[in-house]
């Protein structure tokens, strides 16, 4: 391994990435086209299995040529899928942009205020946010906003619909707080592991402590875990998007996905 040229290593990694991407697309297609295998209620048959595999191959082939599939009437769904994808991407971007700084600040606080009332409160809050199912958070937040609007007449945010204005506040808040809680917990775990290292003890023995120790020794070691936490938070946010999109009627890919399950075979498409 050590004697390998950088170009060869890069080529190998790029090949692995391509294979991973292809496997991911094949897996998504295999899930989305399951209705072809099951038909309308009956158990899978050998004939349906053939049609299922053919559909997957055809779809993946079409995807490579920029064809996203067709709807029940046989019309291409490129435009509607692209519009839904754009809306989902907007929501994901907004949520990630809020979650990152919030999560880093929260994680820093969690690690510094480890004991006492504040430490307990911050820890409890992050655990609670990670534990609450997305729909519970959505319903609680929507209920709170609706109650405030009814009692005071002040509209803080919209509780339904798509728009890059007040409509964005609630879905972003739900997704971003979950993402931030995930980042905070991941950073806390990483920081606890770093603080237990020998070189931190050595630095302490030499008289370094407090913010100086954190800035010079802990922070540089946290860069890689921070990247991992950020990527993990994006995954948490993406996972929550399906239900949030559906409940807020955002009109993104999440709602389309749920239409596939209620609509049956037709909507092949959401891949």
């Amino acid at each position: 391994m050590s004697g390998e040229s950088p170009a060869r290593t890069l080529a190998r990694e790029a090949m692995l990435l391509l294979i991973t991407l292809a496997a991911g697309v094949a897996l998504v297609a295999a899930i989305v086209f399951l209705p072809v295998l099951f038909g309308r209620g009956g158990p899978p048959s050998a004939e349906r299995l053939g049609a299922y595999l053919q559909t997957i191959v055809g779809y993946v082939g079409g995807l490579a040529q920029g064809n996203l599939g067709s709807n029940a009437r046989g019309r291409p769904v490129n435009n509607e899928m692209l519009q839904a994808a754009r809306r989902t991407l907007e929501l994901l971007t907004a949520s990630t942009l809020v979650a990152l700084p919030l999560g880093v600040a929260w994680g820093g606080l969690l690690a510094t205020v480890r004991r006492g009332v504040w430490g307990g409160l911050l820890f409890s809050l992050s655990t609670l946010l990670i534990s609450l199912p997305s729909f519970v958070a959505v319903l609680l937040l929507s209920e709170a906003v609706a109650t405030i609007t009814l009692r005071t007449g002040v509209r803080l945010a919209f509780v339904q619909g798509y728009g890059l204005d007040g409509h964005l506040i609630l879905p972003t808040a739900v997704l971003a707080t979950r993402g931030a809680a995930f980042i905070a917990r991941s950073l806390q775990v990483s920081q606890e592991q770093i603080m237990a290292q020998d070189w931190i003890r050595a630095a302490r023995a030499k008289g370094l402590g407090g913010l100086g120790l954190w800035r010079r020794h802990v922070l540089p070691a946290l860069r890689l875990p921070l990247l991992g936490a950020a990527l993990g938070a994006v995954r948490v946010i993406v996972a929550g998007t399906i239900i949030v999109d559906y409940l807020y009627n955002w009109g993104g890919l999440g709602r389309r996905l749920l239409q596939v399950t209620s609509g049956g075979v037709e909507a092949h498409l959401c891949a």
């Binding site: 692995l16 294979i19 991973t20 991407l21 496997a23 991911g24 094949a26 897996l27 998504v28 899930i31 989305v32 399951l34 209705p35 099951f38 209620g41 009956g42 158990p43 307990g120 820890f123 655990t127 609670l128 990670i130 534990s131 609450l132 199912p133 997305s134 729909f135 519970v136 775990v189 606890e192 995954r235 993406v238 996972a239 399906i242 239900i243 996905l257 749920l258 596939v260 399950t261 209620s262």
Partner: protein
């Protein structure tokens, strides 16, 4: 004494452990704790007329009231602990076993590590809810309860394993350089034997933490699917307002949540009770996992 002090220093372990123990007691002693039969309707009369269901909380000794089929909600919640924990617990154990197997192989053999990279990369790109939703919705329509329950366990165990597998791989790689591994080779043990006899037992603490996190994750998925009307087994067709929908026969939180969402207009408790049960149990397992992790 030392153990008690150690527990008191870890409130998350204490609270999480107590809540999980409480759920385990509910699951085991459900017939003793539940005030009513969870399946049998309790028909109440107001003179000659039958009282309309769902009954409000506090009616005829029903602390949380009843559902629209006149079954005591609290009893269904208590029995629900049994079925929900059983299904989710088994699925979580299978998930951890799968992840541990793959992670151990990947940490031990370089070729398997590349394969895990590809598999984990592709698998973790698919959100768990997306992965579970379509197959389970389709299998639910077949109307075979046993197949449905089996499908839930299999699908739940196939989601979320990549993160655990990657963590196990890291742990195995760290253990690979340990002196006891070299000693094992020195006495003539083969690679597979070292992995099984010496590496595997040292992963026990990590796998315990992962198992607790896995139960929380499976419960979360079960709750989200229940909210979307997909739940474990025991479904029959029921006409509500002209619509055909699934209705849970036996008490399971996902089914109760699905029914509660549909009938929340009649009584908010129908929706809030299973939602709270899910949230509390997920919180309990997350706290337990965090406590176990910090104890290591």
């Amino acid at each position: 004494m030392h153990r008690t002090m150690s527990l008191l220093r870890r409130p998350e372990l204490l609270i999480g452990g107590a809540l999980v123990a409480l759920m385990a007691i509910c699951a085991v002693a459900a017939p003793l704790l539940a005030p009513f039969d969870p399946i049998k309707p309790v028909v109440l009369f107001d003179g000659a007329d039958i009282v309309r269901a769902p009954y409000p909380p506090g009616t005829a000794g029903m602390l949380l009231g009843s559902d629209s089929l006149r079954r005591d909600l609290l009893s269904r919640l208590i029995y629900g602990t049994r079925y929900t924990l059983l299904f989710c617990g088994v699925a979580a154990m299978l998930r951890v076993a799968l992840a541990a197997g793959l992670g151990m192989l990947a940490g031990w053999y370089a070729g398997a590590s590349r394969l895990l990279d590809v598999l984990a990369g592709a698998w973790s790109a698919v959100p768990s809810l997306f992965f579970a939703l379509i197959p389970l919705a389709l299998i639910s329509r077949l109307g075979n309860n046993q197949l449905n329950a089996l499908a839930f366990v299999v699908v739940f165990s196939l989601t979320g394993w990549p993160e655990t597998a990657v963590r196990v791989r890291v742990a195995v790689r760290e253990l690979r350089a340990a002196p006891f591994v070299e000693s094992a080779y020195a006495i003539g043990l083969g690679r597979a034997a070292v992995l099984w006899r010496h590496i595997r037992p040292n992963l026990r603490d990590l796998l315990l933490v992962e198992a607790a996190y896995a139960v929380a994750a499976v419960l979360l998925l079960c709750a989200e699917l229940g909210f979307l009307g997909i739940f474990i087994g025991g479904a029959e067709r029921e006409a509500v307002g002209g619509q055909i929908s699934n209705d849970p026969i036996f008490a399971e939180w996902g089914g109760m949540l699905a029914k509660g969402v549909r009938e929340r207009g009649a009584s908010a408790v129908l929706f809030i009770a299973p939602m709270a049960a899910f949230s509390l149990s997920i919180l309990a397992f997350n706290l337990l996992a965090e406590g176990l992790r910090r104890r290591q």
